[in-house]
Point group: C2
Chain length 427, copies 2
């Protein structure tokens, strides 16, 4: 039988070739409708497969899922807690049910109508409950760009950067799913020519193009993961927009790091693409020089070739404008290294923890992953098709990020994360 | 009838005058015994009052607590979510039941035996499930000391420090209750004379004497709290030991703040002392100059006079040695300002969120709240009664922090947070 990632697989569901949700993908999410309370779904073409309904019809009876109500929960956490063998069983079984030669749903009109819902008619919710959120800073181009602008161009990359995957703790409570608008935050900022800080809505609202992975298994406090073990703990990935207020950030971040400049909102795509679905898209990473310490060494390819794109839409634009094209393979540090580093001191991880990559910038200016870099701190405004320009984001701008991997004619995509910027609440 | 904080109140339970848990305190925690699964308790003298048992006997029937099983949960969160009017009703009712003139438990031997347990025989657990943890940096002496050592003595306090309560996000997963030992963490550090970082167990393990408050009510994403509103969201406080590895911290913390140097463990005292119980101990804070921005202005006294003490015990010491005496009133920024600042950008807070003060150092060397400061980065070792000295913590050292407020003969205390340092796991 063909494996779930085989390019030769086809579904009895018609799927457009440019759809992110081919049968080789099968990402997990949480959805609800007017009639159905929150539960686990899998995206397939223009549809959502109601996984809980499958269990109710006995279609998972041969699997080692003892409690099928894990698919009838408001988050994926309880399903993820079952561990990788179960994640694989479930994905393989869903792949089997959707193949063109499998009649179990295909030839059962009533069941089909019950378990397949039109995707645009369902509401996507937060896929996971996030107990802890960490943001890394693992793109060398981004770190170099930011270091040049905020600190010293001659020493843009700090001494520790190539020795460890720099990261910090972010705010879990304000991670929101695609579609929820964000409010322009207010805060303190200090103009270069002022003696004291001023207060008001940020004038330098920005996005950050990131990808985040999610752990589906916990560790005990005091234990560490090797780079080889790390990947077994990772369930999947989402697109991540780490909204940032640059003027607030510049004033507050020394010495303890970003705080209010980031924690007002982070938006994620609602479909969690499994690491299993992304396996065919592994690529080698950069040569790491100087050589890393032994606990950060790894074997095999752990970078992923994921095309990323950011668009801007506004009330005066006819079509959304592409403002950045980047790729997740531009990372210096890979996920295995990030997770091994995160636990080397015994820090425990939990089911549902989210780890963002940091802004993913390529080497050319059109591949930078933030307005800060695209406009070089506002000194080189972006020119949009309607004649307007942007140094940073305006109210009612809509930022959309998309991502997909493509190989041997198979596309495995993330869908999108999209949000509109609403004006600050008046003071 | 006397109010719950009245110094004239007495209980029918005999309580030593130096007990932290007088009838005017009544802190909440979560305990279990061999026979009782985790549930809400209140400390009173040498006893724990099983609050769930009270509800089973109808003693809360006159209160607006619709679901008494909120007291039969592994965390205080569901009780806290009921809001301040209920917190007060419950505290007032427990105060009433324990007064020397109230016969309801006093004269019912069977009920008394069921609801009062000897405190040393119960196991105290984490009192709250912590969705988000923030660490502030609000002691001016501590910030000045650290700035002098790690940066520039001439400009120890950074330009933003007196304009906003500097804070950052810490790790929620590794907050543990008193009594759980901690493991010496391993990590990267860079000796001053080395070209590259080395790897190994930290050589500069430290404690940080802090106090943390806990929010018992949530806000919506996008909304802010004023300094006047902030206090209504705070349920209570605990002692907080923010364990730190100074050599790891020095190497990793620029530019995004502390990460692995802090997230291996933070220890808290298990009894949450309510803000209501602490109300009599309010004192004015320092004059804040320069004047703060309007959103940080406040009226009334919001500092608290809480005596704090740190002791060190080791296998070779006959008695634990007091190594620091400080006071929570040394804070520059108060809780109301911290919470107003935290939400000014719309960041949402959740029930159970924890907010630590940052290390609380006084102005004299014996009041510094960390080994880093007490030994001035190891240059002035502490001399202990057994003839040994300490630059930083040794394996098998036990650090204990205690705190109490005292006024008009009434003592309201926190008990203690204590943990032993275990050796690093061999590599």
């Amino acid at each position: 039988m063909l494996k779930a990632n085989d390019p030769a697989l086809h579904s009895w569901i018609q799927i457009a070739p440019d759809s992110d949700f081919q049968i080789q993908n099968l990402p997990f999410g949480i959805f609800r409708t007017q009639d159905r309370d929150p539960r686990v779904g899998v995206a397939i073409g223009e549809y959502v497969l109601d996984v809980y309904v499958l269990t109710q019809h006995g279609l998972f009876d041969m699997l080692d899922v003892e409690d099928p109500t894990v698919f009838h929960r408001p988050y994926l956490n309880d399903f993820m807690a079952l561990g990788r063998p179960i994640w694989r069983q479930v994905r393989d079984r869903i792949s089997e049910l959707l193949r063109n030669d499998n009649p179990e749903i295909r030839d059962n009109r009533k069941l089909m109508a019950e378990c397949l819902l039109v995707r645009k008619n369902v509401q996507m919710l937060m896929p996971v409950n996030v107990p802890n959120y960490t943001d890394f800073y693992s793109s060398i181009e981004h770190a170099t760009n930011v270091g040049s602008m905020f600190r010293d161009p001659a020493h843009a990359l700090l001494p520790n950067w190539k020795h460890l995957p720099v990261g910090y703790h972010g705010r879990a409570s304000s991670i929101i799913p695609s579609g929820v608008p964000i409010r322009r935050p207010k805060g303190q900022m200090k103009p270069a020519d002022a003696d004291a800080p001023i207060f008001g809505p940020t004038k330098q609202l920005d996005f950050e193009l990131e990808v985040a992975f999610i752990t589906g298994q916990p560790t005990e406090l005091g234990s560490s993961l090797t780079t080889a073990e790390a990947e077994e703990y990772i369930f999947g990935m989402v697109l991540f927009n780490d909204w940032s207020a640059r003027d607030i950030q510049a004033w507050e971040y020394v010495p303890l790091g970003p705080f209010l400049a980031k924690n007002f909102a982070s938006s994620i795509s609602p479909w969690v693409v499994t690491l299993d679905a992304l396996a065919p898209f592994r690529v080698p990473g950069p040569v790491q020089e100087p050589k890393v310490l032994p606990y950060l060494e790894f074997s095999g390819d752990h970078h992923l070739d994921i095309h990323l794109e950011v668009t801007l839409q506004s009330p005066t634009l006819e079509h959304e404008a592409v403002i950045s094209r980047s790729n997740y393979r531009h990372m210096y540090w890979n996920m295995n290294q990030q997770l091994a580093h995160h636990t080397i001191n015994g820090c425990n991880i939990e089911v549902g923890d989210m780890y963002a990559s940091g802004t993913i910038s390529g080497s050319t200016p059109d591949s930078y992953g933030s307005m800060l870099e695209l406009t070089w701190r506002g000194t080189k405004p972006l020119h949009l098709p309607d004649g307007s320009e942007r140094k940073f984001l305006h109210d009612h701008d809509i930022v959309t990020m998309r991502g997909y991997a493509l190989k041997n004619g198979v596309r495995v995509g993330f869908g999108e994360v999209r949000a509109e910027v609403l004006p600050a609440i008046s003071i």
